[in-house]
Amino acid sequence: MIQIQDCSKKFDDICAVDHVSMDVCEGEVFGLVGSNGAGKSTMLRMISGILKPDTGQILVDGENVYENPGIKETLFYVSDDAWFPASYTPDNLADFLKCYYSTFDPQRFSTLMKQFQLDEKRKISTFSKGMKKQLLTILGVSAGTKYLFCDETFDGLDPVMRQAVKSLFAAEIMRRNFTPVIASHNLRELEDICDHVGLLHKGGILLSRQLEDMKFHIHKIQCVLTDREKEQELEQELEVIKLQRQGSLLMITARGTKKEILEKIRRRNPLFCEVIPLTLEEIFISETEVAGYEIQNIFF
């Protein structure tokens, strides 16, 4: 289990991560989502033991991760903008990592390389961006670590490869004790794979919940009420995140279970009422809007 306790990180005057606390449980796929500059990569680099938090601590299986090789051997960091030693081939890199990760499985590496149709003897510098991402993911999986931290892993992968990586993660979870933590903008991809989502915004954590639980507690409703008074009453009664009006049609995004929300609407005898399922992307937009990330200010 990874425990992030009141962690902060500043780069000069910029606060990249601001007093964040959250837990990553074993055996679940953790999605770390957030706006640009929210601190996702910084958070991952701190969890990987690359950066030292200015305040707070990060415990992996109860031990501080920074400068702790024993713990670092249980995790593997797949960078968004990875560097590979000059003139190295995937084979060379695997040999190199074998020296540091006692759990590295060369057989598995070789098998996966074949499955992903990557040449082990070709220089990495000649690989495309997507191929490098695939290679890193394969290396991460082959390292046999308990935790795998992926920064924007799906970025640059074609749809087939995305599915392949997702199925690889699923297979690994089935095979062994494996906890991938994936930071991404691609909420649709995360939606398919994540069990738990941590939402970062401007260095702080907005929410950290099970995806199902998150979807269970936020809903979007379309309804038509008979008069304005009822509309105002409903707005006050519900925990409204977002309210839009198109003619007489009200579109409300509100916190609460589906049952609670529908009950409150039906009490006001609506002419029409429908619950629309929220995507992770919509939840993200709604939550960040509440936190002051006004989408209207971005789109013109």
Partner: protein
Amino acid sequence: MRSRIFSFKTLKAASKNQLWIPCLLALGFFMAFPMAELVMFDEWKVDGYTVRQIGLLYENLWKDGLLFTGCFVTIFAAAVNGIHGFLYLYSSRKTDFYHSLPVKRSEMFWQKTWTGIVYTEVPYVVMAFAALCVGAFRGYFSMKILGLAAVMLAVHLLVYLLNYFAVVLAVVLTGKYLTGVMVLGIFFLYAPALGMVIREYRSIFYDTFWRATDYGLLKLLSDYLSPALLGGRFAVNCWQEEGLRLLAAVLCAAGIFGVLSYMLYRNRASESAGCSIISVKAAKLFKFMVSVPCGLGIGVIFRSLPNTGDHRKIWWGFGLILGTVFSHGVIEVLYQGEFRKFLSKKLELAAVGILVLFCSLWYQLGLGKFDSYIPDRDQLKALNIGTEGIFRGSYAPFIRKISDGEYEVTSGWYNEEQNLIFPEEEMNEEFYGILSDIVSEQDKYSDGISSDSVWMGKFPVKYTLSSGRVIYREYFYNTQDIYNLLRCGYQEGALKERKYSFLCLGDDCLGDTVSWESFDDRTVTIISNQKSKYRELMEALRQDIEEASAEELLEQPIGSLDMDFHIAMKEDVSRLVPPGRKAEASTTICVDVFPAFERTISFIKDMGDGENLDSVSMKSVEISYIGSGYYDGGYYEQQQAEPDVFDRPEQIAALRDALVPYYLERPWLEYEGRVMVNCIMENGAEFSCILRKDRIPDFLEELIQEKAKVSDAPEGSMNEVIE
């Protein structure tokens, strides 16, 4: 977990595609060891040395030559390994890669250090072994050579570690290429460059600064505070007397650099990649360290642009301001990586400016009392006086008999043995008093332009303090000063023994010829291949010198002898000569012949020469007067166009007493500097003379007072400018 530092598996994995480093170093060590050895063997063979001599030379090659050549490659290896191992810290991508690995920073530091050592030492050992094989193949191998090779390896390893840690510290301290190069430059070149600036300022503003020998701070800066120079000096001098001191310095410096680089690396934040210098305090310190000497240095360059003194201060001031602003601005641009930041730190610039001003005033106003410094009498252990300038034409090297037929010759005045007029046990109050008077009068000479004081030259002094510290100075002297100093040296000190140390030379050292320097600067050979006569002359000289008093040795010499010697030197490896030739040094020693040297003068006359001015028939004496003065900050001399001619017998007789051949001018006697004298003999030959001041006839004294006035020289009429 098992340490991976020395693991061959890790080394092998980390060395993938890195083999160019050991290959490059192998090439360097090949040239430094086997190739250098082969070249030397060929050279010795061509020179015709015997097997025994080549054995000695070969041993010395391992002791000295290969240490020197290997040192270059070792320092290069340290730089390559240091940069290659830690340059990843400049890139955040590379830093993420390495720092995400499950390995402690401390472990990674030593792993990289170990990898570097392996990259260097493997080719080193292979090439050193090849060099040993080359020697052994030619029949030169012994356990001593093997021992020397082992010592060489240890010395080079120390030099390597010193420079490696210095390079690593520079890399670890910075996060950008430009600032990395700057800090590397500071570590390796700053101290010698600062030494140059201080040396320049001292030589400009301190009249008593002795430029030829570095000591104290300047020695520290030039020899000890640059890792490369310290390493090189240690490699070259490890077998010398100062070897142990240098070893201590190398160990100390390597330790400091090692600990600092290790601590900084361990605590360096990964996000420091891309920042100029990781420590703000260090950055500020570096900025001051660089911009202050740069400002002062550029000031000196501008000061040297004009020819005359008056404008120099203006140019100096301009150079100081320009240099300070420019150097501070450039450093700020390098530090911040933006041209617009040239004048961004005005407060820091002002602080640098104040420091530059303070340093300039320190030198300009002589606030350090440099020129008036003389160590306390009770602190003084020994005094060396540089007499090369004082004795001018009659200077002789110091010769010491080592054993029968073997001598040691040294000619540097600062040598401990030579001219050590007053070693500790002989230190004399009178001598110290005379020297103190000379030191206290330095101000009046340095005032220069407005002063009437006439100085004859400068002599260097080496003070050796009881603490072991040495201090050098160079003092102006006048005739009376130097007379007193030498009289005291002859009477109370060891000056006579040292100046005439050639008397210890045996008959086997006598050369072929002895010449008498004629009054008109002609050289007349009085002995040629006559050993018995030469022996007679040596005996006469020995007796005359032994009996001569201090005052007699400070009279006007009547001539000088050039004596040819072949001195058999002690055979050592630096003086080996091939068979058929003798290990000897040929030297000519010039000996003043004073009126008190009766036996010598008689001998010279017996040899049918020794003509002096008294015996010459002169037709006339022509005297030109030299007017002098100061104009526009410079000193000018103006010679009278038409000389006065004195041809009456009574005039010539009166003048003859004062005339001295110009080559016999000695600084402890006073001569008239305001005249130029040309003597014309009956046969029409001419020669130049000078006049003894105390013997100038009255009629000439009046003429000199009248015609050689000190005045401001009118523009366009001066024929010489003396700065």
